[in-house]
C-alpha cells in the first residue's frame, strides 16, 4: 500500500472512485432535471463543513447531513407549488452558500481553506478520505443497483409506477439521500461549486452514445473516470487547479461525443 503514500496516487484513486459512482447517479439527475437541485444541495455543503468542524466529526458526515436536510426542506417547498421550483432552488441555493461562508468566517479560531472547499483540493486527499470515498462509494453503488428498476420506473412516469405498486415517495427520498451522499464524497475532489458537474457532464456526454438507460449509466461512469484521469494529468502537467481541470476534461469528452461519427452505437 506504499503507493497510497503518494498524494498523486491518492488523488487519482479517490477521483476515479467518486467518478465511478457519480456517473450512474448523474444519469438520474439529468433524466429528472435535478441539476439545479444538485447544485443547491452542494451549496449547502459549506454549512456542513462548518458543522463538522464545530462539532468535531468527519467533515464528509457533516456535509452529508447538511445536504440531506436541505434536500428535505427543498422537496417540502417544491411540493407546495406556491412558487416555481427554480425560484425556491435559487433562493435556498444562495442562502445556504452564504450562511455557510458566514458561519465559517465567524469561527475565527479555525483556519479554513475556503478556496479548497469551493473549488476542490484533490491533492490534499488523505488516506482517511480514501476510505470514506471507497466505503461510501461502494455502498452507493450497491444501493443504485438494488434500487435501479424502481428508481427508473419512477423517473419515467411516477403515476404509472405508483399505479403498478411502486412506492414512489420512498424511492424519491432514497435518491435524494444518495445524491447528498455522493456530493459529500465528491466535494473534496472538485469542490462545492463544481461538484454537480461531475454528476451532469459525464451523463450528458453518455446520452448520445447509448440506447438503454443501463448503457448510459455505464458510459457515464466510464466518461467520468476518464475525465478525472485526463484532468489530473493535465493538472500535474500544466500546473492548473485540479477541480476545474477535471471539469474541462469532461467537457472535452462531452464535445467529442457530439461528433456524429462517434454516435454509431
Amino acid at each position: 500500500m506504499s503507493f497510497l503514500d503518494d498524494f498523486i496516487w491518492r488523488a487519482v484513486i479517490a477521483g476515479a472512485g467518486v467518478a465511478l459512482v457519480a456517473g450512474p447517479l448523474g444519469c438520474f439527475v439529468v433524466w429528472r432535471r435535478m441539476a439545479y437541485f444538485g447544485d443547491t444541495v452542494a451549496h449547502s455543503s459549506l454549512l456542513g463543513v462548518a458543522l463538522g468542524l464545530l462539532l468535531g466529526f468527519n467533515v464528509m458526515l457533516g456535509v452529508f447531513a447538511a445536504g440531506f436536510a436541505v434536500a428535505l426542506v427543498l422537496s417540502g417547498f417544491l411540493r407546495e407549488k406556491r412558487l416555481s421550483g427554480d425560484t425556491v432552488l435559487g433562493t435556498l441555493s444562495h442562502a445556504s452558500l452564504s450562511l455557510g461562508v458566514i458561519v465559517i468566517s465567524l469561527m475565527t479560531w479555525l483556519r479554513v481553506d475556503l478556496m479548497g472547499y469551493l473549488f476542490g483540493d484533490i491533492l490534499a486527499v488523505s488516506l482517511t478520505d480514501l476510505y470514506w470515498v471507497y466505503g461510501g462509494g461502494m455502498l452507493v453503488l450497491v444501493l443504485l443497483v438494488l434500487l435501479w428498476r424502481p428508481l427508473l420506473a419512477v423517473t419515467v412516469d411516477q403515476e404509472l409506477a405508483r399505479a403498478e405498486g411502486i412506492e414512489a415517495a420512498r424511492y424519491e427520498l432514497m435518491l435524494m439521500l444518495i445524491i447528498a451522499a455522493v456530493i459529500a464524497l465528491a466535494m473534496k475532489i472538485v469542490g462545492v461549486l463544481l461538484v454537480t458537474s461531475l454528476l451532469i457532464i459525464p451523463a450528458a456526454a453518455a446520452r448520445r452514445l447509448s440506447r438503454t438507460p443501463e448503457q448510459m449509466a455505464l458510459m457515464a461512469a466510464f466518461v467520468g473516470v476518464l475525465s478525472v484521469l485526463l484532468g489530473l494529468f493535465a493538472s500535474f502537467q500544466f500546473d492548473t487547479p485540479s477541480g476545474p481541470s477535471i471539469v474541462l476534461a469532461s467537457l472535452m469528452l462531452f464535445l467529442l461525443g457530439q461528433i456524429p461519427s462517434f454516435r454509431k452505437l
Binding site: V156, D157, A163, T212, P213
Partner: protein, 256 residues
C-alpha cells in the same frame, strides 16, 4: 343481474375529491366487475381522470371509500405519457419498466396488440397509436384483472380508434378482465361498451349505452357540447338513434 360478490373487482362508494374550494368529484359511486367494459364519459373538466386516479389510489379521496378485490392486479394506461428524449428507452425496456419479463413474454404481448415490429425502437419515435398499443401490451404483460384506460384513443386517427376499441373488446373477451375507461369521444365508445357512466363532477346518469343516450341529463351535456361542433342538435327531441346509440350522426340516419 345482481353480480356475485367475488366478481366485483373494484367498488367505490360516495367519493369526493376537492381542489381548493371546489369539488372535482362529487358523491360518485361505481363498481366494475369481471368481464365488463365500463366507460366514463363526460365533458372536459368533468373529473374523469381524477376519478380514475382516485380508484387507482394515486389521489386520496376527501370522503368516501374504495374497495378492491384482494391482490387485484391492475393494468393502467395513463392519459398522457411523454418520455423525455434525454432518457434512452427502447420499447422492450419500457415493457419491463416495473417488473422483469423474458424477451419471449414481451414479444408475445407486443404481438397481441400488433406492434411487435417496434420492439427495439426508441419509444420517443413511436406515433400516437403505436405508443398506445405499446402501453396496452405493457398493461397486458402484468396479466391484469382490471384494465384502467384513460383516453386510450388519444392521438390516434379515426380508423385506428375503431381498431383500438375493437382490440380492447377482444382482450376483454379472451381474458375476461374488467375494463374501466375514460373517454370524451362518444360514438366509438358507445359501441364498444357494456355500461356507461356519464360524469360531470357527479354522476349524471348511468346504464347501458342505449338507455343513457336517451337520458335528459346526457342530452343536456352532450347535446350542447356536440351541438357547438355540428349544430345539429337544435331539434333532438325527435331524433332517432342508430344501432350504436350514436347521437352524433342521427341527423343523417347513418349506420356507423
Amino acid at each position: 343481474m345482481t353480480p356475485e360478490l367475488p366478481n366485483i373487482l373494484i367498488s367505490a362508494k360516495d367519493l369526493y375529491l376537492k381542489a381548493g374550494r371546489n369539488d372535482l368529484v362529487e358523491a360518485v359511486s361505481l363498481e366494475v366487475s369481471e368481464g365488463e367494459i365500463v366507460s366514463v364519459i363526460g365533458p372536459n373538466g368533468a373529473g374523469k381522470t381524477s376519478l380514475l386516479k382516485l380508484l387507482l389510489g394515486l389521489y386520496k379521496p376527501d370522503r368516501g371509500s374504495i374497495r378492491r378485490r384482494l391482490g387485484l392486479r391492475v393494468g393502467y394506461l395513463p392519459q398522457k405519457t411523454s418520455i423525455d428524449p434525454v432518457l434512452p428507452l427502447s420499447v422492450a425496456r419500457m415493457m419491463t419498466l416495473t417488473e422483469s419479463f423474458s424477451r419471449k413474454e414481451v414479444e408475445t404481448a407486443l404481438a397481441e396488440t400488433g406492434v411487435l415490429s417496434l420492439i427495439d425502437e426508441p419509444v420517443q419515435t413511436l406515433s400516437g397509436g403505436e405508443f398506445q398499443r405499446m402501453m396496452l401490451a405493457r398493461a397486458l404483460l402484468r396479466e391484469p384483472e382490471l384494465l384502467v384506460l384513460d383516453e386510450p384513443a388519444q392521438g390516434v386517427d379515426h380508423l385506428g380508434e375503431a381498431e383500438l376499441y375493437g382490440l380492447i373488446g377482444k382482450i376483454r373477451d379472451q381474458r375476461g378482465c374488467g375494463v374501466l375507461m375514460v373517454s370524451h369521444d362518444l360514438h366509438v365508445v358507445m359501441a364498444a361498451t357494456d355500461r356507461v357512466l356519464c360524469l360531470n363532477r357527479h354522476l349524471c346518469c348511468e346504464g347501458e349505452p342505449q338507455e343513457v343516450t336517451r337520458h335528459p341529463e346526457y342530452l343536456r351535456l352532450f347535446g350542447m357540447e356536440a351541438g357547438s361542433r355540428l349544430a345539429v342538435y337544435s331539434h333532438h327531441h325527435d331524433h332517432v338513434h342508430g344501432l350504436s346509440g350514436n347521437v352524433e350522426t342521427t341527423e343523417f340516419k347513418q349506420a356507423p
